[in-house]
């Protein structure tokens, strides 16, 4: 999932069709790990694709997946911030959230490659830890890239990645 970014070597700006064809699955993976369910992940990806389409003219060749992950994260944060201000709807990132009952068919399908208890623990992480872990381990971004995107020092990123993983490790043990 975090393999080499093909545009790094090419140094060219891809077309939107190319991004949509080759990277929507990557964007979906990031969105799903952030949102924790398919419905919200689809909304995030759809909005992200639109922003990609409009933003490609400003894209500077480099880490395309890093750029895409930043867009997906921004969309997710915009939506969750809005929901936080309207607490009548359940939040995916509520630290006290309890994953009730078994997963639906879609969720079960998506969790095939990631144990349920890990996915649930990931969804239950505090937002800053979850984002740091996902940007590092799902999007494959360096600490420096994550720091630049989230606006916190590299040391804070390092701490968040570690603390997030430690929480997940507690679930494993």
């Amino acid at each position: 999932m975090t393999g080499p970014d093909p545009t790094d070597a090419a140094g060219t700006v891809p077309t939107w069709d190319e991004v949509a064809r080759d990277h929507t699955r990557f964007m979906y993976s990031v969105a799903y790990r952030l949102a924790g369910n398919h419905s919200d992940a689809e909304d995030v990806v759809q909005e992200s694709l639109l922003r990609v389409k409009r933003g490609l003219v400003n894209y500077t060749p480099g880490s395309l997946q890093g750029w895409l992950a930043r867009i997906v994260t921004n969309v997710f944060l915009d939506e969750t911030r809005r929901r936080k201000r309207r607490p009548q709807t359940a939040l995916p990132d509520d630290p006290d959230r309890v994953i009730a009952g078994g997963p639906g068919a879609d969720e079960a399908l998506a969790m095939q490659s990631l144990p349920d208890h890990i996915q649930a623990a990931l969804a239950g992480l505090q937002e800053e830890f979850r984002i740091a872990v996902i940007l590092c381990d799902v999007a494959g971004m360096s600490y420096g890239e994550i720091a630049d995107h989230t606006g916190v020092p590299v040391g804070t990123v390092r701490s968040r990645v570690h603390r997030g993983r430690m929480r997940l490790r507690e679930v494993l043990s």
Binding site: M1, D43, S48, R51, R54, I71, T80, R86, L114
Partner: protein
């Protein structure tokens, strides 16, 4: 050594000297080695795990975006608004029509990907406003560094004399200046290093001059203005219930004020003026 050396080493982010020290510690401490192995397993699980999608999901999402962009309706109006209002399903299960209207504004705010998430900045503004009222420092501000007022004053744009600077925070490339007007209204001015295309923000009003472009819109309980300056993007946020006040005044700005500082003053005035009436 710090605990987070373990993860940093796994990620290849630990400096060589510390890596050497960690290797020695791992060799001597079986419990530390066990922690390291566990973290390595978690990391591998996350990196190798894939999300299996229901059939046709990607094709459906791509087609929805392509269709939205190609429709005459979206070409004639602010496209972000049209996308959200015709989404596959209400975004994030939004139930109320009012919420969809707001979503149409919020949904466009990532068009300029250099900008921090504006929802985050609104949260920071609201948190700072609470601090002005005497509330303890909330989580939104914990990760920010407090900038000395003298330095903050030198970094600040020209502001009206009756605006007093109350707090200044900095995080990464973003400076957050918190003002209070004579009426007690908090106004946040964010200075973010970088550029933005305000025409990509969608859903709001855009005015342009030779010096800068400005975008503004109501978001939730706040008014937000984004000015694309030279090397900096300025974001002004304040709470105000008059939905179209900011947008209307923005259109007068190019002729009313030439400098960025004056334009910011006008933006702030637009937000707080109703409280003075």
């Amino acid at each position: 050594m710090n605990d987070d050396w373990l993860s940093a080493h796994l990620d290849g982010e630990l400096p060589a000297i510390e890596a050497t020290e960690l290797a020695a510690a791992l060799a001597e401490d079986p419990r530390l080695q066990a922690d390291y192995d566990d973290l390595s397993r978690v990391r591998a699980m996350l990196r190798e795990g894939t999300v299996e999608l229901p059939a046709g999901t990607i094709e459906r999402l791509v087609a929805a975006v392509a269709a939205d962009e190609e429709s005459p309706e979206s070409a004639a109006a602010a496209p972000v608004v049209s996308l959200v209002s015709r989404r596959r399903v209400p975004t994030f299960a939004a139930a109320a029509a009012a919420m969809v209207i707001i979503a149409s504004v919020v949904g466009g705010l990532g068009g300029s990907t250099n900008l921090p998430a504006l929802g985050d900045l609104i949260d920071q503004h609201e948190a700072a406003a609470g601090v002005i009222e005497g509330a303890p420092m909330p989580d939104e501000l914990h990760d920010m560094d407090v900038m000395p007022m003298e330095k903050a004053t030198s970094e600040a744009p020209p502001m009206p004399a009756d605006y007093s600077m109350e707090h200044a925070f900095v995080r990464g490339r973003t400076l957050h200046l918190v003002y209070r007007t004579l009426d007690g209204e908090p106004v946040s001015v964010f200075r973010h290093e970088g550029d933005a295309d305000v025409n990509d923000l969608g859903g709001g009003s855009v005015v342009s001059s030779d010096e800068a472009d400005m975008w503004s819109a109501p978001m939730d309980n706040a008014y937000v203005a984004v000015v694309d300056g030279t090397g900096y993007v300025w974001i002004v946020i304040s709470a105000e219930p008059h939905d179209d006040m900011m947008g209307d005044l923005m259109h007068d700005l190019p002729t009313r004020s030439a400098s960025l500082g004056e334009r910011l003053r006008d933006a702030a005035d637009a937000v707080v003026e109703p409280f003075r009436l």
